[in-house]
């Protein structure tokens, strides 16, 4: 055991995550589904499935379509709702050996505010991630994340009821992500997750219909990694708050691209489906890189370009 290894912790607002490698919302349920397969104690954070005020069944199947190095999903924010969360999921989060960050979504501003307010009183919730970038619902979702003025207003309303770390998850489906990033920061966000899925479509040429009944879904996986890295880099030049980078991370090298582009933490999502050991391997790979390159803390990875 080396006493003076690199400092892998990440500070958001006034709180500290033990390490920079979390698991992305929507890919990890509420933390129990992967309990047999993932060393939960090694995670920097679990970002939960989105919670909305009311229970949601989700979209009609098929909800998935695989594309080159990518996966299109249109789950539709299926979740047990706020009451169901408080009744069934809080005890799971209480038992997690790592911080739990609850992803919050809604169809209207009041939805976000009511869920965020409730989360503020739950001890097992480390912080919240505001989902203003889901491309797979008819109301709300991405609409809140693409108009800077609307996003700033929403972030401010949530900020007013939430004392815990507030992370806003940005959509890449905008002309200039730096604008929405600045809006979220102005509204009081403590950090930004960057990026949610890209709008995508796969067409079944036999049926001559989109594979996903609603037409489009959200594209994730290695296919979007360069888009995510570029977005993190642009956002890092526009704001002064920490950035959580995600999109297509499958290895420590991928995660280091994000960290060098300006992220302070990362999330692993789609890669978990194929290889549940990715988060732990990413963390170990970041640690050995920092030891080898004599980099004392995550923040020292920033500023090279």
């Amino acid at each position: 055991m080396v006493a003076s290894g690199p400092d892998l912790s990440v500070v958001i607002a006034d709180r500290r995550l033990p390490n920079p490698v979390g698991v992305a919302s929507g890919t990890f349920g509420f933390g129990e589904e992967y309990a047999d397969l993932v060393n939960l104690a090694a995670l920097g954070a679990v970002y939960t499935k989105a919670v909305t005020p009311e229970p949601r069944a989700g979209n009609a199947p098929p909800r998935l379509a695989e594309t080159p190095a990518g996966l299109i999903n249109a789950i539709g924010l299926a979740n047990p709702g706020l009451e169901g969360f408080l009744r069934e999921k809080v005890r799971i989060l209480e038992a997690l050996p790592c911080p739990a960050i609850v992803n919050v979504a809604g169809a209207a501003e009041d939805d976000y505010v009511s869920v965020a307010e409730a989360m503020d009183t739950v001890d097992a919730v480390w912080g919240i991630e505001l989902n203003v970038s889901c491309p797979n619902v008819d109301h709300g979702g991405m609409a809140f994340g693409t108009d800077p003025a609307v996003l700033e207003g929403l972030t401010r309303r949530v900020r007013d009821v939430c004392r815990k770390p507030l992370i806003v998850k940005l959509s890449p489906n905008v002309t200039d992500i730096a604008e929405t990033a600045r809006a979220a920061e102005a509204g009081g966000a403590d950090a930004l997750s960057c990026i949610n899925t890209l709008t995508g479509m796969k067409v079944d040429i036999q049926s001559r219909r989109p594979v996903i009944p609603r037409g489009t879904g959200g594209l994730s996986g290695p296919a979007i990694r360069p888009v995510g890295v570029a977005a993190v880099w642009r956002v890092s030049k526009a704001v002064g708050i920490p950035i959580v980078g995600l999109g297509g991370i499958t290895s420590a090298d991928d995660a280091l691209e994000y960290l060098l582009a300006g992220a302070s933490a990362v999330q692993v999502g789609t890669a978990l489906f194929s290889d549940p050991s990715v988060p732990e391997r990413v963390l170990e790979g970041i640690r050995s890189y920092m030891v080898r390159e004599r980099i004392p803390a995550i923040g020292d990875l920033h500023g090279y370009f």
Binding site: G26, T27, F28, G29, E33, Y34, D36, L37, K49, A57, G58, N59, A60, P61, P62, R63, L64, A65, E66, P68, A69, G70, L71, N73, I75, A78, G221, P222, T250, T270, L272, F273, S274, D275, P276, S277
Partner: protein, 267 residues
């Protein structure tokens, strides 16, 4: 009914890889450390996911129902359909598979006095063959109705002596002409306990026969999956609403399924 006790990610060595019908292959493999992990119950109807051999091209694990499971290994039957299964078909004895399992909820057991009627269509053969052997080991005499497109696609498998086999093909090139449910008569349903795996219209027809006869029926649903462990909710199966004013409801093929009571499905 078997619940998900412990999900394991493991590696196994292929010991036998053979063609069981045109485009259908069976892979048999043994655990690298010689025996199954503890609390490992890969009952009929449960499944495993296989990492595509050339991961990440393609990337997502493919689900396959167990066609057999024993202390030292397991087997599954697959159809060569796309890139991942074509790559799987290139593997040989000695090659190693990366799998996750056992996953999902399998078939329950028939009640005493019930006669199992197992209906397989196409690639549904794997779990149905496994179920037939397992029921025969319990002293039951299942009727197995095996549907295939044509004679070339009738799987070459060993069946227990206790099983009564009815083969049918869409083109009549072997056995009864027509789809598997057509080979069933009303009188077969007396005291019957139905289990079906195959194309949706086939399973629906079996379900309707079971409902008309007031007999239990279980079906194994196939859906595209991403995680296989219940986290992503990608493999939603539409459930019949308890009442008309209820909105749509879904269950996960990978946890609550793939085997469901056919009366729960929104056909």
């Amino acid at each position: 009914m078997a619940g998900p006790e412990t999900v394991v990610r493991g590696r196994s060595r292929i010991t036998d890889h053979r063609t069981v019908a045109r485009d259908y292959r069976e892979i048999r493999c043994t655990y690298l450390d010689g025996h199954a992990p503890p609390r490992f119950h890969a009952e009929p109807g449960r499944f495993l996911t296989i990492l595509p051999p050339h991961y990440p091209n393609p990337m997502i694990r493919r689900p396959f129902a167990y066609s057999d499971s024993w202390d030292e290994g397991f087997a599954f039957i697959y159809e060569i359909r796309g890139t991942a299964t074509r790559d799987l078909a290139d593997l040989e004895a000695g090659d190693v598979l990366d799998w996750m399992g056992p996953l999902g909820t399998g078939f329950p057991r028939p009640g005493s006095g019930e006669r199992p009627i197992l209906v397989s269509g196409g690639i549904g053969i794997g779990p149905i063959a496994y179920l037939a052997r397992s029921l025969a080991e319990d002293g039951l005499c299942p009727l197995v109705v095996l549907g295939a497109r044509d004679a070339d696609r009738v799987p070459d498998l060993e069946w227990p002596d206790a099983a009564e086999l009815r083969i049918c093909t869409d083109d009549g090139s072997r056995g009864i002409r027509g789809s598997a449910p057509a080979a069933l008569e009303r009188r077969d349903a007396d005291g019957g306990w139905f289990a079906a795996c195959g194309p949706l219209p086939m399973m629906k027809a079996v379900h309707e026969l079971a409902v008309e006869s007031g007999r239990p029926c279980y079906v194994s649903m196939e859906e595209m999956m991403a995680c296989g462990v219940g986290a992503c909710q990608g493999c939603a199966v539409p459930m019949a609403a308890p009442s008309p004013e209820d909105g749509p409801a879904y269950e996960r093929a990978c946890v609550e399924g793939p085997v469901f009571s056919s009366r729960r499905i929104a056909w």
